[in-house]
């Protein structure tokens, strides 16, 4: 089911091509990078490992981020599938989540804390925040069961756009006001270091208290999402293994790390590089959005995740034992065409 939809999304991208003025498939700026080239829109992080080129590329796309017919249209169309994939992971095996009030059922309670890494303009983060029930005791309206959402991105303009857009929906605005939904202009490293930036809205009491802490004191989450991020990592300054290790550190035992990316296959090269980035009217993503060499194949991802988890375990940052990958989930078939979803469950 989901794999068929992923396929049809790819085909839809092709069909959409003649009418779309073209652009971004991808958004986000990943985390680690030691480059410190100055970009006016980019916060300078002392430990930043964010690829400056990527940040620059996505800053240019910022103003059209929420335009349904704009360069990010493909991302918008893909977004509902992310919800479906998360729901399918939770149907397989759900983390315990925060304790629920006695009146509600733990299987349907909205008690999962989410961290969205590389949230960009907030397409996924805002959509998930919309599903957080206003009444905390109410059962979850969707199978994604969100109780809170923390969304981070190192690109300042994108975080500003995300916040402004969130204010245009009263439900989302209410969650931002209460702190159950927050956008942080920060990096994963800062979150792990426990230093929340000054720009964080009203210190987010609900989310902070809802998330349990790791032995070293940083926040941990039931669900960590990483949509269209790791293919934008700069391989000259960081490694996917190190990056995934950090993602797993942010995860509570039993939690899911869920992502999507593009595989490095021949059809995906044709689709994503030749067709999608072709000049208007063929192309649907702006030129320079993707580098095929950064695309990730599923087997690589699986081994990176395992290695990442080992590293996370080596440093004693998590309580997880070695090789504690509980689940490995991927939508079969879709990876040959390019975009695919994957998920890793951290052992308890």
């Amino acid at each position: 089911m989901t794999s068929l939809q992923t396929r049809s999304l790819v085909l839809r991208a092709l069909r959409a091509a003649p009418t779309s003025s073209g652009s971004s498939y991808r958004h986000t700026s990943p985390l680690p990078s030691l480059k410190t080239r100055r970009f006016p829109s980019n916060r300078s992080h002392s430990t930043s490992s964010v690829s400056a080129d990527e940040v620059s590329h996505f800053s240019k796309l910022a103003s059209s981020w929420w335009d349904p017919m704009g360069p990010s249209r493909i991302l918008h169309l893909m977004n509902p599938l992310r919800h479906e994939f998360i729901a399918s992971c939770l149907a397989d095996s759900a983390p315990a989540g925060s304790p629920v009030p006695q009146s509600s059922n733990s299987a349907t309670a909205a008690n999962l804390d989410y961290l969205d890494i590389g949230c960009g303009g907030g397409i996924f983060a805002e959509s998930l925040a919309r599903t957080i029930p206003l009444d905390r005791a109410a059962s979850a309206p969707t199978p994604t069961r969100a109780a809170s959402m923390t969304a981070i991105d190192p690109t300042t303009t994108l975080i500003q756009i995300a916040r402004d857009h969130g204010r245009m929906d009263p439900t989302v605005e209410a969650h931002m006001r209460s702190g159950r939904f927050q956008y942080l202009n920060t990096t994963l490293e800062d979150v792990l270091a426990g230093s929340t930036p000054a720009s964080a809205p009203a210190s987010a009491p609900a989310s902070a208290s809802a998330s349990s802490s790791s032995p070293t004191g940083h926040q941990q989450f039931d669900m960590v999402t990483l949509f269209e991020v790791i293919e934008h990592i700069d391989p000259t300054t960081t490694t996917p293994q190190a990056f995934l290790a950090n993602c797993l550190r942010a995860l509570k035992p039993g939690g899911w790390l869920i992502g999507s990316t593009i595989s490095r296959t021949f059809p995906s090269w044709i689709l994503n590089q030749v067709i999608a980035e072709a000049p208007w009217p063929i192309g649907v993503v702006p030129r320079g959005t993707h580098e095929w060499s950064k695309f990730v194949n599923p087997d690589e991802l699986h081994s990176w995740a395992q290695e990442g988890l080992m590293r996370a375990a080596d440093t004693n940052v998590t309580r997880a034992g070695p090789a504690a990958l509980d689940g490995w989930k991927i939508v079969p078939g879709s990876e040959d065409w390019g975009n695919y979803f994957w998920a890793v469950k951290k052992g308890i």
Partner: protein
């Protein structure tokens, strides 16, 4: 759904100008200066539906019926008295003249949202056979399922006739059964204005791209009351051909008037010449009358009644309405039986003459006219006060959606009634829109967002255009009198369709709405 005239008077100022994203901040600031204070913060609804006809009520009933959307905060604004519609009641021998033919897929939708059981089913009439023929050439097509179904199977229904009032009452009763939590029905209320909201800055959300509807009671004496302001995540225009919601969204329509009127009436029928077989089978009849400007149709109602829909020129319509009851009945019976020449003559008879009555004229002329095998039973009575007429028009909105706005039913499209599809297209819109909203809610999408609404629009725009266009084409083909090539092609057309079972079954399935 008819729209009250008071709803048209929305000033152009309420129309939303297009504002590019980068300019929005400046506008918000200006608004704030002149804008409302926070005590006037509008109440926020997920769905505000303007128009309480079958489409608007159908949407509400569908949203309330789905577990995914039943918690949405919804409001309905209707200028008529909904309590009166809810309390509608007629004797079992009386029928309203506003009757619609529901395709099986519309009935299926109504069953799915548990609304069908709220209709008075003794007042609805299914029919299994449809006789359509050309009054000029005599070529005919018979729509029945006998070639499609085995003799052991129940006969399949072509369509189900129901009074609109029965449907509206049933939908209201269904909505009532869903409880009143998160539901507001603004009855006897018109839309005074629709404008964009404002950015509440530190006080609350940015509503500058949200439609704010000011609603005011229509009741006399209540005018002094200040209007209630409500904000809509999704504003649905189910408000008819002159849709104020459509004007607010600045969506244009294309279309034309057919220069035809539809005459409707509730008729009592005599016993058929030969009993129908099987006994419970009912038939609808439609005869194209090129010389008189359109088809006449007789659609069955319970207890041997029928509803008449006769599309003709405004002059003929005025003439027919001015006739005495016996003369009117004679014209109806003549229209199914006599030649174009006879009919044209009778349509010009001096209605004040004592010497020559329409009844005598019909009897005399029938003796000289060979009769087709399938003609409806004679109409023997007209229910008092049911003869009425309405202008026939074609309209199609250039689009069904704009940010936080969706149009359904007559607000989006008005078509020629010759195939009885108008209300069905509206209900199909509502079914699609409620599915779209359901999908959006379960996937964290904003139900007023264009990305959400385009699913609805892409599902409905082309089917509506196709069926509206087909009805238009049929109308145009069958209003050309005489023996020219069109007429010849026409007779070939219906005959060929009747002889090729698979083409016919395709057409029937289309007419059914599959």
């Amino acid at each position: 759904m008819p729209t009250s005239n008071t709803m048209r008077s929305i000033s152009r100022a309420a129309l939303r100008p297009y504002v590019c994203t980068s300019c929005r901040h400046g506008i918000g600031a200006t608004r704030r200066r002149f804008g409302t204070n926070s005590s006037q913060t509008p109440e926020i609804y997920d769905v505000v539906c303007v128009g309480g006809g079958p489409a608007g009520l159908g949407l509400l009933a569908a949203l309330r019926a789905s577990p995914v959307t039943s918690k949405l905060k919804v409001a309905l604004v209707e200028s008529q008295d909904l309590r009166k519609a809810r309390g509608w009641n007629l004797d079992s021998t009386q029928f309203s003249n506003r009757v619609s033919s529901l395709t099986p897929s519309t009935v299926e939708f109504l069953r799915k949202i548990n609304a069908w059981e709220h209709l008075d089913v003794d007042r609805v009439q299914e029919y299994q056979d449809m006789q359509v023929w050309d009054g000029e050439t005599g070529s005919r097509i018979s729509f029945d399922w006998s070639t499609e179904t085995s003799p052991f199977e129940d006969m399949r229904t072509v369509a189900t006739m129901t009074e609109n009032a029965n449907l509206v009452r049933g939908l209201l009763s269904r909505i009532e059964a869903s409880g009143d939590e998160n539901l507001t029905l603004f009855s006897n209320t018109t839309v005074a204005s629709i404008e964009n909201g404002s950015d509440l800055q530190n006080e609350g959300p940015d509503l500058s791209a949200w439609p704010i509807i000011s609603v005011a009671p229509t009741a006399p004496g209540a005018q002094a009351q200040s209007p209630t302001r409500i904000a809509a995540r999704l504003l649905v225009g189910a408000d008819g051909i002159n849709s104020p919601v459509r004007s607010f969204a600045d969506i244009s329509t294309q279309g034309w008037d057919y220069n035809r009127h539809g005459i409707v009436a509730t008729l009592a029928l005599g016993d058929p010449d030969k009993p129908s077989f099987p006994a419970n089978m009912r038939t609808a009849y439609q005869r194209f009358l090129p010389a008189l400007g359109g088809p006449i149709a007789l659609l069955p109602l319970p207890n041997n009644h029928a509803t008449l829909v006769w599309s003709t020129t405004p002059e003929n319509a005025a003439y027919l309405k001015s006739l005495s009851t016996p003369a009117f009945l004679a014209m109806v019976n003549a229209a199914f039986r006599l030649s174009m020449t006879d009919l044209t003559y009778m349509m010009g008879m001096d209605r004040t003459s004592d010497q020559f009555s329409h009844e005598d004229e019909l009897i005399w002329r029938l003796q000289h006219t060979p009769q087709q095998s399938q003609i409806p039973p004679s109409a023997i009575g007209v229910q008092e006060g049911t003869v009425a007429s309405f202008p026939l028009r074609f309209r199609h909105a250039s689009q069904y959606i704009s940010p936080r706005v969706a149009l359904v039913g007559d607000a989006a499209h008005v078509i020629h009634p010759l195939a009885g599809q108008g209300l069905n297209l509206g209900m199909a819109d509502v079914a699609a829109l409620s599915r779209t909203i359901e999908y959006a809610v379960s996937h964290g999408m904003d139900i007023g967002d264009l990305l959400t609404l385009e699913r609805y629009s892409s599902e409905r725009y082309l089917p509506n255009a196709k069926i509206g266009g087909a009805c238009d084409l049929l109308h145009k083909m069958y209003t050309i009198p005489g023996q020219g090539p069109i007429t010849w092609a026409r007779s070939l057309g219906l005959d060929v369709i009747d002889r090729l079972p698979f083409v016919k079954s395709f057409l029937m399935k289309n007419a059914e709405g599959y």
